[in-house]
């Protein structure tokens, strides 16, 4: 309610959300200590393994590190188009 009114009256969101978002990303990378290139490589290797078993929609793959209850969590969302017959 408050946030809604602020948006209506103020026209835009304050900068704190930006600060919070930037911090979350920063802290994950501080803790994980992987380069962007290493992250990309890990993504490709994981997706390659999944692709051996199911047909996936490459454009919809979402692969990211996040802060969870017990520290850093790796969250991967991989849309499956079709399960390969031979895998069943």
């Amino acid at each position: 309610m408050r946030a809604f009114l602020q948006r209506v009256l103020g026209g835009k969101q304050g900068s704190k959300n930006e600060a919070k978002q930037r911090l979350k990303v920063l802290l994950i990378h501080d803790q994980v200590d992987l380069t962007q290139a290493q992250m990309e490589q890990m993504r490709e290797e994981v997706v390659a393994v999944i692709r051996k078993y199911v047909e996936i929609d490459d454009s919809g793959v979402d692969f990211k590190l996040d802060r969870g209850e017990s520290g850093v969590e790796l969250a991967a969302s991989v849309p499956v188009r079709r399960v390969h017959a031979r895998a069943i």
Binding site: R2, A3, L5, Q6, L9, G10, Q13, G14, S15, K16, N17, A19, K20, R22, L23, K24, L26, L27, D30, Q31, R67
Partner: protein
Amino acid sequence: MSECIVITSGKGGVGKTTTSANLAVSLALSGKTVVVVDADIGLRNLDVILGLENRIVYDLVQVIEGECKLKQALIRDKRVPGLYMLPAAQTRDKNAVSQDDMKRLVQDLKALHDYVIIDCPAGIEQGFKNSIAGADRAIIVTTPEVSAIRDADRIIGLVEAHELPEPDLIINRYRPGLVERGDMMNREDILEILAIPLIGIIPDHQDVIISSNRGCPAAFDENSVVGQAYRRVAARVQGHEVEIPSFETGNGLFNSFMKWMGLAPVREVV
């Protein structure tokens, strides 16, 4: 039983020394005996914040090197019974002291006083390691800014790696007006990220600058909002349950709107 508390932050300039001085004064005002130690060897500042810079004879390094007795180096603050300061050396570097030296020193100080407060230098190197070596618990000071919170997160990890219990957090330089208009992270935002217990919020206020000009910590002033905030921290340090107020200004957009509508301002939860 005596307790040694290290005040640390990682980032410089967030208010470690101001917090150390005010917490020490507040604890002394509540009847405890306290010694506050400047562990920032080579860049001492605590003496100036406390207004005791003209009374220094011996320093921490001289105590460790046996040039003087511990009690000779302690400067008694005459404004309140039971408050002492141990100054840092100004002309030496951080490597003049080892972690074992600090452990011994803290043990000796704990035998004399209820609380030993250590004002830790910025950074995560030797000075930091020395400062936490003899500590029983840590209080992390941060400001509601990305850089300070990032460093606080790093320090929390290091404190826990040194087998100290989970540290407590002080949010310093809090500006309720900015929080109300969404331009500063609020209490929940910061706690969501750092996930340690909050032990105090210190509002950003001119009292801090005025008191540092005068060498008289705000905690001495009963009417200062900053002094009051630090005295509440001191009560919580001693295990008393004291509410952390919200510091709302009542001038936020939402409150203005509610006033305009003829409704009472709603209490901002920060």
